[in-house]
Amino acid sequence: MTPTEIHEKLKARFGEAVGPLSEPKIDPFAVVKGEAVVEVARFLRDEPGLELDFCEDLTAVDWPKRGVIEVVYHLFSYRHRHGVVLKVEADRAAPKVPSVEGVWKAANWMEREVYDLFGVEFPGHPDLRRVLLPDDWEGHPLRKDYVEAGGWHGIGNVRESPLVELRRLDEVAMAAAAKNRPPPPPPPAPAAPAPAAPAAPKA
């Protein structure tokens, strides 16, 4: 089935909750209303003829200008060898998208990753905690307006050029060497005039 046919089925079943298919630039996608996503996911997985059993990718894209974070689902069917791309737009201020962990177990870790790096909450997720970053990390790095905190628990993430430190060490070493160097010997006394050359032996 092509993405268009899958989209038609979705549209027939869910109506308004499923947006139009994007103009087929490269990979077309459809925007789904957040509150319907679990129902849509279950339908896509279980409906005979669709059976999208593989949640190939679940990630997000941040769009600060539009004020949304898109959560992107790439779904695929091993049996029918077709796939579809869905998106859910979440409000950027407090992004919340229902978890599809109950439909595809693979979503468990990928939703944790999106939570970690984008700060999208997934109500219904059994174990929503950061996966890559430490628990007490501040901010969500893949958001476009993320500002680096400048370190974590005293571990810096910037350092000056190693050349600066090497140069400083050089100066210290040179100063120490200058201090330890014995005072220069007094200038030698003017050399005594060379003795006159012995007279040439008489022939």
């Binding site: 490269i26 059993d53 190939e56 990718d57 595809w104 174990d127 890559l132």
Partner: protein, 386 residues
């Protein structure tokens, strides 16, 4: 601050909490498992990852499109060719261009050599983790020779940076083809398979009775679970799913080759056990050697780089490209906003998803079998953390 992972373990009984890793030799990189154990039997093992997180996806938003290529090497440094190739394919899809045939064949040949090298590390370290020290040395010796060949091709032994958007960086040097074919004859024997390295390796360890008993019916992943948890590549095929991106969603030169896709058959016990995942890799190495032979024999003449504009600026849009990496399907999702920098680069890797299944499989397993499970999933820490 309380570590949140501790909430996943510890029911208040007498179980012992054990940190397995992050610096344990059999975790294949810096991964930690928090193991709740009653004697030798685990109640649960919770993976704790992120020690190697370098925010490569964020870096991809800052470099230009071509500038990101060397970073992709660092996503999976055991099989960097595929990380290169996936990114190149995704951007090519955005640009609507295709690499010339010679480049596609060189990609296939170098990629399959790289797959052999990666699988050699996988099967070698797996034997070591189980307790057989010798096979790793044999496997690494062969991998060094493949590294030599790849070094002649692209100048690097580990982080290849060989692919370019629209082709490959270098043509094959003079005499490379003959060297590779001679090596393959040594590797899989050509006409005399009995005298090949891979047969020797099979005799050394694959059909070793202790090894088969040690791995057979251990850490069984049934078919449904493998699909549900999103296992890919050899791990998925080990569970009996006949699926290979190269054959089923062909890309590049792969439609032109003949090869088989090995699938786990429960040779040492149950379908989907650790031995099946191991044996699928052994069989895949033979198939990879076949593909390299065909690619080099049919290697077309011509350009190895397409005509690519100097400044790469795809029009706004998004594309997903998938390749069959040594660790299974690797998907790159690239979003362009019409500038010369990617708006979003996403690398979906096989190891990351494979880690998700461990907590589910661990209850009731022996600690020593956790080692077999992790080794058979062939996870590579930088690919999990990116």
């Amino acid at each position: 601050m309380e570590k949140l992972i501790l909430r996943r373990v510890g029911s208040g009984g007498d179980e012992m909490l054990l940190n397995f890793g992050p610096q344990h030799p059999s975790t294949h990189g810096v991964i930690n498992f928090l193991v709740e154990t009653d004697g030798e039997v685990m109640k649960k093992a919770v993976p704790d990852v992120g020690y190697l997180h370098r925010s490569i996806e964020k870096i991809g938003e800052g470099t230009g499109y071509p500038g990101f290529m060397p970073y992709t090497d660092r996503i999976d440094y055991v099989a960097a060719m595929f990380a290169n190739e996936g990114y190149a394919l995704a951007v090519e899809k955005l640009l609507k261009l295709e690499a010339p045939p010679r480049a596609q064949y060189l990609r296939a040949a170098s990629g399959e050599l790289c797959r052999i090298a990666s699988h050699l590390v996988s099967v070698g370290t797996m034997a070591t983790d189980i307790g057989a020290t010798t096979p790793l040395v044999h496997a690494l010796r062969e991998r060094e020779r493949i590294n030599d060949l790849i070094e002649e091709l692209c100048g690097a032994r580990l982080t290849y940076n060989y692919h370019r958007i629209g082709g490959v960086a270098f043509d094959a040097p003079t005499g490379w083809r003959e060297k590779v074919l001679a090596y393959l004859d040594h590797f899989d024997g050509g006409d005399t398979p009995a005298r090949s390295f891979i047969t020797e390796f099979d005799r050394l360890i694959t059909y070793n009775e202790i090894y088969m008993k040690r791995l057979g019916s251990v850490a069984v992943i049934p078919r449904e679970k493998a699909i549900g948890y999103g296992l890919v590549g050899p791990n998925l095929r080990g569970s009996g799913v006949d699926w290979d991106v190269r054959r089923d969603v062909p890309y590049g030169a792969y439609r032109d080759f003949k090869y088989d896709v090995p699938v786990g058959k429960g040779m040492a016990g149950t379908v989907g056990d650790a031995f099946d995942r191991y044996y699928v890799r052994i069989l895949e190495m033979r198939e990879s050697a076949r593909i390299v032979r065909q690619a080099l024999e049919k290697l077309p003449e011509g350009e190895y780089m397409a005509k690519v504009p100097r400044r790469i600026k795809p029009e706004a849009g998004e594309a997903l490209a998938r390749v069959e990496s040594a660790r299974g399907e690797m998907a790159y999702y690239v979003v362009s906003d019409g500038t010369d920098k990617a708006y979003r680069v996403r690398a979906r890797t096989g190891s990351f998803l494979a880690m998700g299944i461990i907590e589910d499989l661990s209850p009731g397993m022996m600690i020593a079998d956790l080692v077999a499970l992790v080794a058979s999933l062939d996870v590579v820490a930088p690919e999990i953390d990116r």
